[in-house]
Point group: C2
Chain length 350, copies 2
Amino acid sequence: MELTARKKEILKVVTERYIDAAEPVGSKYIAQAMGGSVSSATIRNELADLVEMGYLEQPHTSAGRIPSPKGYRLYVNELMERRQVSDQEAAEINSALQGKMQELDSVIAQAGQMVSSIVNYPAYAVAAGKSSVTVRRYDLLPVDASSFIAVVMTDDSRVKSQLLRTELPVEAEQLPALANLLNTHFTGIHTEELGSKLMALAPQLGAELFMPLSQTIEFATAVIDSSQRSHVFTTGQSQILRQPEFQDLTKADGLMSLLTDQKAELPVLDENTPMKILIGPENVNEALKDASVVVASYDIGDNMRGLIGVVGPTRMDYATVAARLSYFAESLTKMFGKNHQLPPKEDDIP
Amino acid sequence: MELTARKKEILKVVTERYIDAAEPVGSKYIAQAMGGSVSSATIRNELADLVEMGYLEQPHTSAGRIPSPKGYRLYVNELMERRQVSDQEAAEINSALQGKMQELDSVIAQAGQMVSSIVNYPAYAVAAGKSSVTVRRYDLLPVDASSFIAVVMTDDSRVKSQLLRTELPVEAEQLPALANLLNTHFTGIHTEELGSKLMALAPQLGAELFMPLSQTIEFATAVIDSSQRSHVFTTGQSQILRQPEFQDLTKADGLMSLLTDQKAELPVLDENTPMKILIGPENVNEALKDASVVVASYDIGDNMRGLIGVVGPTRMDYATVAARLSYFAESLTKMFGKNHQLPPKEDDIP
DNA sequence: CTTTAGCACTCCTTTCCCCCGAGTGCTAAA
DNA sequence: TTTAGCACTCGGGGGAAAGGAGTGCTAAAG
């Protein structure tokens, strides 16, 4: 059977109406919405076809129709009018982004919050880690006899520091030599090698040098780890309780757990994809089978990307969410790009 | 009317039964639970008294009784058997705490997670900030012509660092002098004074010195701010959906919002109080009026305290939660105390 | 071949009612 | 003061019935 223009129009009307009202849509409404050019009986014939073709579903015999995931997919791909954010929305987004230039993770988390409040669904923001981070440089600063500060700068320009306590006293004079050792042997290499290289060097060093060296390496490893790990921030979880489809506690529970305790399971985006819409069963995660996700990415700099996603019912307002989300992502890209350097990055501990 | 021993026993039976079953408790059950020494009719007389005295409530005329907040309060204060954590529980807690010695905020957030999974209620953890933090020391490290690293150490022994980009080139040779300036004029003073002092010094400095100075001060201000701000971490929110009393969506929604988007509203503990139980209407926050909170504090060192709280229905199992929470808090205090110094603290960005 | 009016039919939802039973409150006796 | 006895209350469960939105089919019209 062929998907005529009229069938598509009907599908569009059904989808948009269902997005709005969360109730099955009847033939009479559709006929009216289409300007009354055809009767409801004609519509009913078409509806039967659309059900047969798998674009619509019927909760029960005498109910109206709702879009199936396949129907949503077609709607999103072809039928949906790509909305533009209004000037007012754009102004709101821009003003919200103003002066928010803080540490990286904080900006990212706040972006999530803003998106959630803009679209009225829960949102999540991922600070994607670079795949392989190495240390570019070490500095050691004397504090007192039993402690010093280690400063580690990574090749993605993050700088982290920590106060380290030593068991044996360390002479302030030894620190430059130690730093020199670190900078010659322990820069530009991956985590695993750090340990082995340390072991290789161990015999040549006395305990009073080895200990602070190993502490610094341990710290550097932690820095790299946290730099590589993606942190996920979520907000607006309570929004899902306000959606009629999640009045059913079991569904809400699954989603809620996902959004609070299993954030890492939330869908991400492979490189080069600016935005993606995942509808119901298209999601891999079980808890998301009854939900949809819109996720977009933005550039941060130094080959790094941020991710921002919105979780809602399959019935979610894709046009609006997609428009706002992509505008938002673009704004973030611009914002990070403007200071054509990296933004002043700060340590990122979740 | 007097609160006889038997009345108290009845109140205890009712409370514990209700905690367990979440259903109103009838006179027959109580008579049986008390060993059958008295008849249900006698119990009914007593129950009527207890209702009159405000310790119990009756959902409707022909239903059993449930404890009122006042009843819970008496139960918690007097009747509840202070539970000890079992050896097994203690072992679990201890093993969970092993090797978790990471950065401060991370430890604290994890503590919240552990508590939540131990008690099966949502939990929150607060990293309480010190009231007035000042910078103890500055270091400036050269990077290249247009950037340098600022390292700031606060008087609560946190060390933070950031890469700062300058607009005008900075000579590496100027940095020590600049650091010296900072260390003489900008240590040990509060945030507000930092700015004014900077202004006072401005006329004496050229732009190529003033800019990096002011950037460093700005960074120091941010460090102090984030050090003073309390960060709240929450987990296990989805647990509340599993409580029968929160099947009512509106109540669940309020609590959920509180636990996800208004964390700052969660009750804290004034100094010197090791643990507190807040029952239903005793809570100030509207969303918590139908819930109870058990919150405990532990010592971190340097006069700092951490807070850990559990949110549940008023019917929550106070004895178990309180026992586990206080054991947990004590364990944390011990853990932080063991390294009688501060644990290696790391930068804490939420 | 498509569209349309007409109409019987389906099935969900709401409402009402009735009954059941747990539990009470009261009375009167032990 | 305690207890047995008993009438009474009230919420909850289970149909049955009414209501209504919407369908599917048929037959006629375009």
